[in-house]
Symmetry: C2
Subunit: 195 residues, 2 copies
């Protein structure tokens, strides 16, 4: 078994979850040269207004593209946090939009108010997803800031590059702050190496 990294991004329809999934997949798949599968599944919960996107990263061709046990979960609302945290691996990373997620299912959580920051810093809630991509860039080792920026620019409207670069940078800065406040792992005391 080679390297495999399973991610789920989740929230409400309208929070830009699917676009995030595509940008993240393209950042890693096109600009970092890894195998990536990116999947969205629609069923009763999609008609209820929930949205999720999954990304599986590997060093070899991916047979089963759905995320299984999660290395990283982003929950942009309370419901998705409640529904999916059980799928995290014991040492998986949980990132929440603390604008909406108030009840934390575990102690070790990266809490960043993506939507509030988007509103207060940019006057546009719709960049919350790009701020979150910036945070993911810093909280995982799966993609470089440069590859992420290229992938964002390839998918956002022409003329919004400056706004989106700032949103990415704010997300990365918030991630560095959040890392300082995070609890260490309880069992193994393994800590991220790149703090």
């Amino acid at each position: 078994m080679g390297f495999r990294y399973d991610i789920r991004l989740s929230g409400s329809g309208g929070q830009g979850i699917i676009l995030m999934g595509i940008i993240l997949a393209e950042a890693v798949g096109i600009y970092e040269g890894r195998y990536v599968s990116q999947t969205q599944s629609y069923g009763p919960e999609a008609r209820g207004g929930s949205s999720k996107a999954e990304i599986v990263i590997s060093d070899t061709e991916i047979d089963y593209p759905k995320a299984i046990k999660l290395d990283m979960l982003l929950a942009m609302n309370q419901k998705s946090c409640d529904d999916y945290y059980m799928d995290l691996k014991p040492e998986g990373i949980l990132i929440v939009d603390s604008t909406f997620v108030k009840q934390l299912p575990v102690a070790r959580v990266y809490q960043i108010p993506f939507t509030r920051i988007a509103r207060e810093r940019f006057g546009k809630e719709m960049v919350a997803n790009i701020i979150a991509l910036g945070a993911i860039t810093k909280l995982t080792d799966i993609v470089s800031p440069k590859s992420m920026e290229k992938a964002v620019f390839a998918r956002v409207p022409k003329g919004t590059e400056k706004l989106n670069r700032e949103a990415l940078n704010v997300g990365m800065a918030e991630a560095i702050k959040a890392k300082k406040n995070i609890l260490p792992f309880m069992r193994s005391e393994r800590e991220d190496e790149d703090t």
Copy 2:
């Protein structure tokens, strides 16, 4: 085994293949109420500039979200037609952008010059993918024109609704023309019922 319908959309990066995949998946998954999985896989061919999106439609939850044997293949360039036509079921539907696909691997092909129509009718090659979605709506029974239009409007920029509605309508009209020219199935003589 319930109903399962496997689709692959393929072409070059820049032809809007991924966006097509998401719109088609949301048309069926959100507005028609079926189970849908939508997957893109990135690997060496993505870095080479190829693009593909897969959609699996089912009446029950989908365990394996990658397309296996195709009920429908859209090939927006010659390479994707060459690479993927072998994955079609014997009675699967092949639709090609005849602007770019000149060498046909089988006799029974829906040939529509999506990109040329986009350029000549709308002055915008980028609507070729929406024209193709219109054609898919008419050439398959998986989605109603109304659901397709809703899904398109949810994903295209505000203010482009009129353009995109016209593009869908042109695609549907071209599909009706293409149906008249298509060869019947060789073996079973099964014909589409809704002509």
